[in-house]
Symmetry: C2
Subunit: 375 residues, 2 copies
């Protein structure tokens, strides 16, 4: 079945909304209370462009939480278990955010714009409310807000060529997650080497929402000779690459998950002297050991469609099956020629565990565990 979505004022339009409509967007989802394109009518071509060419995505729904003021760095450090001591101006870091119980509530990229100004480029939860509450309750001298900043992603093997042609060859020297402020025909931007794919790419953080169409059209024009086309964050590629989707793989209220379960151990600094929210809870979790671990799954049989909701990962026979984990998202990978998925399994479940299955819309299918990424 296919369902429509109503474009109404209770959900925000991206600054690129009109441009994506002009380019034939066919579906939207909602992310951080904002419409985000789903596809432009040819998912296979959109996937192929990401893997073999270059794609442009409206990811304005990846909103920024700005922390500005003398205590901005202190607040940033309070919010994440990751030790930020060595973080430089111009550097981005992936920073898991935990609540006081040590459970993940978002997994943004932190951008350090200056010693007293940071952005959290967020996944789909209202981190601005969380950060604002912490700042005020701790009496910190920092302003938490959502600035007029809207990323446009350029992703794929030819993304560097397009971005260099747009901005300059210096972008080739940016290290992964690093960024720099610049402008393009007077349009103020932050250019970062980042993006929610493993195909390489850049994100242009537009700092003036009134210039959305201008930026989109400029990228489209300069990218034309490289074969650029519109697309959107791609679930098949993200599964192949083992990227995390907050909302699908983790959600505080329905799929509560701690950072050890996600394999973030190296980012959780429990032995340093710095304080952060969830530190005590995370020490307890570390001491008892994680309950689950992140896994890939390979699913038997003919190509499947994606799942609509999380699926119990089952072990046993029909008579005597028990749940041993959760499969959060699945898809058919044309490139790998198999059905794949990601999820969380009980930590005792061996890589070689047998008799595993999952119930899809297509019926019951056998599965085996796999390491991540697939490709």
């Amino acid at each position: 079945m296919s369902y429509q979505i109503h474009i109404g004022p209770n959900i925000r339009k991206s600054p690129y909304f009109d441009a994506t409509v002009a380019d034939g967007v066919r579906s939207f989802s909602v992310y951080n209370h904002m419409f985000i394109p789903g596809n432009f009518g040819d998912p296979d071509a959109e996937y192929d462009r990401l893997l073999n060419g270059v794609a442009m995505w409206d990811v304005a729904a990846q909103r920024q939480v700005e922390m500005a003021g003398p205590d901005a760095g202190r607040l940033a450090q309070l919010l994440t278990p990751r030790n930020l001591n060595a973080t430089k101006v111009g550097q981005g870091r992936y920073v898991p955010i935990c609540d006081h119980d040590g459970m993940l509530i978002n997994d943004p990229v932190l951008l350090k714009l200056s010693e007293d100004r940071y952005w959290l480029s967020i996944a789909d939860s209202d981190l601005v409310l969380w950060a604002g509450a912490i700042a005020k309750e701790r009496g910190l001298d920092v302003t938490v807000s959502e600035p007029d900043v809207s990323p446009l992603a350029i992703q794929g093997p030819k993304a560097a060529d397009v971005t260099a042609a747009l901005i300059g060859d210096w972008i080739r020297d940016l290290r992964y997650f690093w960024f720099r402020e610049t402008e393009l025909d007077g349009i103020p931007l932050v250019v970062a080497r980042s993006g929610w794919s493993k195909q390489g790419g850049y994100e242009l953080y537009l700092m003036d929402g009134s210039r959305g169409s201008a930026l989109w059209d400029k990228v489209k024009r300069v990218g034309a000779s490289f074969g650029i086309g519109p697309g959107a964050p791609n679930d098949i590629e993200r599964l192949e690459s083992g990227l995390i989707s907050y909302g699908a793989d983790i959600r505080r209220q329905t799929l509560p998950t701690d950072p050890f379960e996600m394999g973030f151990d190296a980012m959780i600094d429990l032995d340093g002297s710095h304080d952060f929210i969830g530190k005590d809870a995370l020490k307890s979790i570390r001491d008892r050991g994680p309950r689950r671990r992140r896994v890939g799954v390979v699913i038997d049989g003919t190509p499947i469609s994606g799942n609509e909701h999380p699926l119990p990962l089952m072990q046993g026979t029909s008579d005597q099956a028990e749940q041993v984990g959760i499969v959060s998202e699945v898809a058919h990978s044309r490139r790998l020629g198999k059905n794949i998925g990601v999820g969380l399994a009980q930590v005792e479940l061996a890589d070689t565990a047998s008799d595993l299955f999952v119930d899809l819309a297509e019926g019951r299918r056998k599965i085996v565990l796999s390491t991540l990424p697939f490709a």
Copy 2:
């Protein structure tokens, strides 16, 4: 243009999802990270049922934030400017929630289930993060969580008849916003006299998500002789009735609004001794006076379609026009035979202000201000 929405695991399904699909749902939106039905294919009939008969709505996306423990009441009071002293067990209250700057971040209904257990039945923002942060930072002995609770609304002039036939005649004696725990064929419920319309009605707060289809089907069966049919929260009726839509009329990050601007003066207890978040900021706002006021607008000309995004409220001639407010949502009311809308106007703008206009998809239209509700 119409756009599709993809049903995927990154957004939650309501417990009533399968039932609404079986009943022919045609569109969804997303609210609190959950799919919520938009319409079932015949918006006029759905409106008429709400006004003249009875409608059933999947409003599970109106999630609950539960506060449980010895300090639950203390936390509830901290979160809202409204004085909760006289609130009884079994009573609901509309409680504006403000941040430390006195700006609205949600406008839920508070349900007092017992002296140490409350629910906030929320609009579209992650209030669970906010309430959780405040509780922990203040060291309160309270657990903040999202319980397995999913409202189903029965709305319209025949809603009492349907609900009485389902639950018992005692529901006719419930006062507005009051509620009681009960069960229906073993399905645990809270029944409240409430709902997001002015046509009268009840909300069944399902307390076991596995029974969604069972409850939906039961309401449908018992409601059949009263002509019940599926529907969804109705934007035209809410505009006619002057109800508030957090997300359209207010949004902390894009339409920052204080409670005085919304006309909540009687709910803002600044002179009592109890402490709450935003009290100092609200005193300042009260002392300087609100900058804007909530207004209705009547729009000239032929029937309009709804707006896709907020519209500047303009005054003057084309040569010399200035913005004097914002029109957040508009629609054509068949019942009233006119185009209507709601918004915020500068406080100096008189009810009789002339030369007002708004630019719609249909072109420029003259407007006049109106009191609320329209009907």
